[in-house]
Every structure is written in C-alpha cells, then in structure tokens.
C-alpha cells in the first residue's frame, strides 16, 4: 500500500466497551465510541462541537492498562482497548461529581425552563446520587436565584450553572465572538459577560443551545410549554442566502423558538441573530390578511376570486402595454417559477433588485461557469480566501464565522479588500483598499468571494478575468434566501434599471425595496405579507405567505437546492406566491400544477439546471445587460427586508445600541443588527 493511501483511508479501530464490541474511525474519543455502541457516559463539559477539556470529570471510565480513571471525552480510542463504564469505580465517580454539583444547585425544577431537557436532571436520574450524600439538598436559602437578563432575549441564572464553560467556548471557538467569559476562580467561578454588564453580541444563541441546564435560556416562549410538548421541525432559514438549517420548536403550528442542530445542514449548528430570533415576522399590525383591490381610490378587502379575476381582466386587456415583473429574492423556487411563467405568458420583462442574476449571466458568458464553483466546507478547507468588497463578509454571518474558525484552526489565509473596520479584519493576513490590481496579485488557488451587489465594473472585470483563467475558485454570497434562484429564472437588475421607469403595468412579488410606483405606471399588482409603501399604492394587493408559512425550495449561495417546510400556520387568508401567480397564470391559459412538489418538478423541466445534484445556473443565450453601479441599498438593509418585521430583532437592535460599551470589540467594530 502506498504511503498516500494510508493517509487518505480513514483507519478503523476496534475496541470493547463493557460487553459490546465497536469499530470506530481512528481519533474518535472513547465517549463517542460508547455513544456509537449505545452506551451513555454522562458528561457536562464535552460537546461534539468543541475541543475536549476534560474539566467536569463526569465522564471518567476505567480503561484496562491505564492507571486510575480516565476522561472518556479526551481519550482517543486504541485498537483492542477495553473500556468499562459500568464498573463500581466509574459509577461511584459519576455519583461523586453529580453530588458536588447538586450540593450547590437549586432544586427549583418545577419552574425551570430547562425541565425535561436538562442534562443534570437526566444524569442524576440515571446515575444517582438519588440522595445528595452530604448536606441536605439546598434551597440556597436567602439567595435570589432568579435569572439575570443578559439582554431582552437571553437570560442567565448563575446558580443553575454547572461550570461546564460550553457557552464560553462555543462563543470563542466557533462564533469568534468572546462575549462570554468567566470571572473569579475556584468555587466562586461564574460565567459572566464583560464587567457583568449587558450581553453585547450577535445573539447567535449558541450558548443557549449548548447549556446543559437551565442556566442560559431564551426569553421568547418562556413559560409557554415544557420542552417535550414542542414539536421539532427542521427547515431552512430564509433570512439570507446561506440557507442554514434551523429547527423550529412549535406548538399548535406556532413557532415558539428556533434552535440549531449541529448534525444537520450546512451550518453545523451555527446561526445568526436573524435565524435565531427573526421568526416573529408573521405577527403585527402591518400584516396583510385579505386580498385588497382599489375601489374609488381606496383599497378594500375582497374575496380571493374577485381579486384574481380583476387581475386577470387587467392583464388580458393590457396585451400591448409595457409590463415589468419584479421579483424578490426572498421568494422560493416554486414562487419564482410560477411568477416567471406568468411573466412569460403576458410578455413582461423579468426584473430584480439584486445584481446576482446579471453577474451570473456575465460569468456564464465570459467564463463559461454558472455560479459558485465551491461549497461552504470547501471554502474553509482552501489555502486562502479573499473577501472582495466590504459587504462580502457581512452578507453571510455564518460563512464569516466559518472562515474565522478555519483561520484559527488551520491557518487559512484570509484577505479583505475594502474599507475597514470590520471584525473579520482581525483574522486577515492582509486588509487593504479595493483596487483591481491588488486583487490580480492574489496567490493562485485563493477562493474569491466578491460582493456581487456593490462591486464596480472594473473590480468585477478583474474577478472575471481571474476566474476565467481557472486558477481561482469562486463563491458568490447571496444576500437573500433565493437571490441565486432569481438569477436562474432570468430576473435581472439591468432590466429593472432599464425598464422600470417606462413600465405601464408593474407586477411586484414579495419583499422589495421599491417603495413608490414608477411615474408611468397605470396598474400595480403587488403580493406582499406586510403593508408597505408600495402595497398601499397598488391597484391590487395579494396577501402573501411568509417563508415560515409555506413549503418551498431555495437555491443558496453555494448552489445547494434545499427544501423548506411550512413550520408555522398561515396568518389570515394568505397564499404562497406560487399559488397567487400560478393561479393567475392558469386563469390566463397556463396549466401549472399547484402543489409544491409538482411545481418543483415542472420547474426542473423548464430549467434543467435545477436538476443537477449541485445546481448550476445556465445563462448563455440572452444578451447580457449592463451592470449599473449606483444607488444600491446597503448590504444589511438588503438582508433586512424580512428581519425588519421582527419585534425580537427590534428589541435586539435597541439593546445593542444601549450596550455598545460592553462590546467584545473596539467601538468601531461593535455589533449591530
């Protein structure tokens, strides 16, 4: 066998744990091997996402040939190893450690938010001690052990903390945030924010996810249901183009909270504040619940049939008008496909606010590629990455922390071009102004991550040149959940810039920045979940479902087509955009099937690129539009179309504004939302 083969083939190690034989990849720790064999070893400080520290001493087991008990979380397996988890020594040790913890832990389980998913509770039940061996179980009399609000969204109760420091480590190791720390030492040690002040961070919520007890909890859904009463429903976050997998905890079709699961999805448990807390966008006075049409100058609520027929009549009678169909990047593949079919049928020009479609088309024409050439995990394994344009890093928070982690773990060479300061700059070997020549000088093999929405023509040309040469992999970040899909279906920013002002009929689908009807517009048909300046000027307004409320597929920045589930009940009489525009297309003579599966199937027939396991956008034939430069919205604003509807995120923004002095970063880099 060649040397290289030996290295590449993952070796399997066989060992015995209690009465079971198990084979696991070399490098696995004993605790994980036991889990694979179906044996629970209790632990607090260990978490598969973190480096082992062997601090809590709860996972000690006997290993033949090794003196004393060994931490199973930090001991790698060896061929032929014999592990005993059920011997007296290990079981006594589990009891001892839990005994120490319970002696200082309030027993207020009935009112604790963690009841039912508390590791202290579970391990004590399974391993004992069933009576605290020394002092009586404490009530910690005289101690007010109510939670301290770290922010409007996250609370902390130091007395329920078992000092596993998983929160502190996930914050630093994975989220690169350093908002959590410890204070004092020994028995006095306490998990803390800086100066015990407000929690100033992105509020990714990983500390909540990783807390084994009820010490760190989130405010939304407090005292609503016990953990086991919620359903778990995994779906795709629609706040940006990363397409993180989120787990919605729901009750009676309402989202109570969002959690992450590191075992599924492209985000490995990482989330941002939008994904974590931006789920309450469906509520509020701004929500449109019924179709409305303009009668005698005022918008009045009408039944669906009436609104649709009015739209049908309007469109039939406007055959020769100049029509523009403007789609949002927050719409699903099904929505966009139905909208696209309608546009095609009535001869409307396909427009978008995002430049992604235009850039993709140019890429296809000039470089013969159809989008990102690498996936997220490939980017983090690269030798170097260049963030081109200041917004490139902040469009996709999860990608940014992945890059920071790769820098810390493997020394990934990061370079940033654009005006600092931004936090990722701390990890960059080079930070400089955005100049095409500097970009041309990048080492071969560097992954290029251009800020497609805001680059100058010149910079973009430089990027194209390098990609064309074949030596530079490319990742195009997406600001919106499906702005990549917009490109695939042919919606273009250049079309918007060129045709909007002369549009006689405008169809506007989904959340948009456009906030006034164009001057020459005679008829405006809008689908929207919320009242906007544009919807209030429309002739017809269809109430649209939000991403959480409808099934749909989204094409993310790395060209993964991911299917989302409806996790929340539909508010009012709202329809998904696919149903709205599909029905309208059918009224005008099309024959679209109106189920998510069938629509996706039909979309795949019309756009074969969607069928690739790794989907690529095919541009090709059409004449490329020019790329306008000015007047584009700032990147955060771009993402914020949905987020701006969230009350939780509003509270977070206000909190972050108030707590800037407690930021883990210098003032100019403090978190904003």
């Amino acid at each position: 066998m060649g040397e290289s083969e030996k290295v590449s083939a993952p070796e399997t190690v066989k060992l015995r744990i209690d009465d079971r034989f198990v084979a696991v990849p070399a490098g696995t720790v004993v605790l994980e091997a036991a889990r694979a064999a179906g044996i629970t070893i209790p632990r607090f400080c260990y978490h598969p996402r973190l480096k082992p520290v062997a601090a809590c001493r709860l996972c000690l087991v006997e290993i033949e040939g090794m003196r004393g008990l060994q931490p199973s979380c930090a001991t790698p397996v060896k061929e032929g190893m014999i592990v005993r988890t059920q011997g007296d020594a290990a079981l006594e040790s589990h009891k001892e450690v839990l005994d120490h913890v319970l002696r200082f832990h309030p027993l207020d389980c009935p009112k604790c938010e963690a009841t039912g998913h508390c590791e202290l509770e579970d391990f004590t039940y399974e391993f004992g001690p069933h009576r605290v061996s020394y002092y009586e179980p404490p009530g910690l009399s005289g101690v007010d052990y109510n939670e301290k609000p770290w922010s409007p969204l996250i609370r902390f109760d130091r007395y329920k903390c078992v000092q596993c420091t998983r929160c502190v480590r996930v914050c630093a190791e994975i989220h690169d945030c350093y908002a959590l720390t410890t204070d004092y030492r020994g028995h006095e040690t306490v998990i803390s924010t800086f100066a015990d002040g407000p929690l100033h961070c992105d509020h990714c919520g990983s500390c909540v996810d990783l807390c084994p007890t009820g010490a760190i909890t989130q405010e939304p859904s407090r005292y609503w249901k016990k953990d086991w009463e919620y359903e778990h429903r995994a779906t795709i976050c629609a706040h940006c183009g990363h397409g993180c997998t989120i787990v919605a905890r729901t009750s009676r079709n309402r989202i109570a909270k969002i959690e992450s699961d590191h075992e599924i999805g492209n985000n490995g448990g990482r989330l941002c504040s939008l994904g974590r807390f931006g789920f309450d966008i469906h509520v509020g006075e701004e929500r449109i619940e019924k179709p409305r049409v303009r009668r005698e100058g005022r918008l009045v609520e009408v039944p669906w049939r009436e609104a649709l027929e009015e739209a049908e009549t309007m469109l039939r009678g406007a055959k020769n008008s100049k029509m523009v169909a403007l789609a949002s990047g927050f719409l699903s593949v099904q929505d966009l496909f139905a909208f696209e079919r309608l546009a095609k049928r009535i001869g409307a020009a396909k427009a978008a606010e995002s430049r992604e479609g235009d850039v993709l088309e140019r890429l296809s024409r000039e470089c013969g590629i159809s989008g990102s050439t690498v996936e997220f995990d490939e980017v983090t394994r690269a030798s170097g990455v260049a963030l081109i344009g200041a917004g490139a890093w902040e469009r996709d928070y999860v990608l940014t922390i992945l890059l920071a982690e790769a820098r810390k773990e493997r020394g990934l060479a990061l370079r940033a071009f654009g005006r600092p300061p931004y936090r990722i700059a701390r990890h960059c070997v080079e930070v400089r102004e955005l100049e095409p020549d500097a970009i041309r000088a990048l080492p071969v093999g560097t992954v290029l991550i251009p800020d497609v929405e805001a680059l100058s023509e010149e910079t973009l040309s430089a990027v194209m040149e390098m990609v064309r040469g074949g030596d530079y992999p490319l990742l195009l970040p997406s600001a919106q959940a499906n702005s990549r899909g917009l490109g695939l279906f042919g919606f273009r920013r250049s079309v918007l810039d060129e045709k909007l002002s002369e549009a006689e009929i405008l169809l506007a689908a989904g959340p948009l920045h456009l906030n006034a009807r164009p001057g020459g517009c005679q008829a405006l048909i809008v689908s929207s979940a919320h009242r906007t300046a544009l919807s209030e000027e429309a002739e017809i307004v269809f109430p649209a479902a939000l991403p959480y409320e409808k099934p749909g597929a989204y094409l993310n920045a790395a060209h993964q087509l991911q299917e989302a589930e409806a996790v929340s009940r539909v508010v009012g009489e709202n329809w998904p955009d696919a149903a709205i525009w599909g029905t309208l297309a059918n009224l005008l003579g099309d024959s679209l099937p109106l189920t998510p599966e069938a629509l996706l199937e039909a979309a795949r027939e019309d756009f074969p690129a969607l069928s690739d396991p790794r989907v690529r956008v095919g541009g090709g034939g059409e004449e490329g539009g020019r790329l306008p430069g000015a007047g584009l919205p700032g990147s955060r604003e771009h993402e914020g179309l949905l987020a701006s509807r969230s009350d939780y995120l509003r509270q977070l923004r206000e909190h972050l504004e108030r707590s800037r002095d407690f930021s883990p970063f210098p003032p100019e880099e403090a978190f904003s939302c």
Binding site: Y178, D183, F194, A195, G197, P664
Partner: protein
Amino acid sequence: MSAGERMSREGKGMRTPAREEVREFLREIRPEIEELCSRYETRRAALIPLLHRLRRRFGFLPPVVQREAAFVLGIAPGDVSRVVGFYSLFREKPCGRQVIMVCGTLSCALRGANKVIETFKEVLGVDLREPTPDGEFSIERVECLGWCDKAPVVQVNDSDYYDNVKPEDVAGLVERWRKEPHE
C-alpha cells in the same frame, strides 16, 4: 515614576478613572507596552505585566481600565476581566492606596497571624477589603507569601516584606506608613 503618576496618588485606589485618563496613560506608556509585547510570540502574553503596570497607576482595575487594556493588546475585554477576576493581586473593586496584605497561611497562622489581622482591623477600624474612609488603607488576608521562616509576614502594595510582625507592632507600623506611604 512619571510626574503624572505622582500627581495621581490622590485618586489611586478609590476613584474610577475616566476613560480619557486611562487612554492618556496608555499612550504615555505605549513604548513600554510595545517593548513588553516584543518579548512574546503573542501580544496577549503581555497582559499580566501590563495589568501590573495599570494596577500600580490606578490601584484597582475597574472595567474601563480593563477594556482599554484589551484594545491596546488587541484582545477581547472579556479575556481581560477573566484574568483580573482570577488573580488575587488584581482588584476590581476600590481598595486603599496602601493595601496591607497579611499572610494567613499555616506557618504564619502558627505564629499568630490571625491576631495580627485582628489588630490591623481594630487599629484601622475597618473590615477586610474595606478601605478606610480616607482611602489610605485596606487590609487583606492573603495566602502564603513565601517567607514562612519570618512569620508572620506582611506586605504593603509592592513593598519588601515586614517580617515577624506582632500584634503590638501594628499601631506603630500604621503610623509609620501614614507618614511614609508606600507607592
């Protein structure tokens, strides 16, 4: 000691400095900080020496000092507060301009350290870690100072050790320290 440092004695230990004051001091000692940093592979390694420098200047290390120190070294404020909270010589709370540290560990205890501590409390009329009203002194019972053959041992700020301290010496020592205060 710079002139600025000498003038600042009045505020030391009791008053939380203004952010600008901290920044100015850090600017003043910037060459010293950079020399410290050059001794190590990481800037963070200069943290403890830097905190000693700040401790000597401000007496205690409130959050405003910690935060500015963090940014000078390019680390997170939480990583500074953690260090300040961990090590006994760094104090987050106001303390006397002269901190009287009496060793209370075994060898000193065997030779009467507890009575010495009690006498300091009586003479100064304050409890442990509670600064005297004029801000001049605070008393701490500390762990082994490493001079056990001369027990009981007392150290004031960064002074040499006072050894074989007996309860009857306490009043005289306090009197002397008032007249010739330790830096």
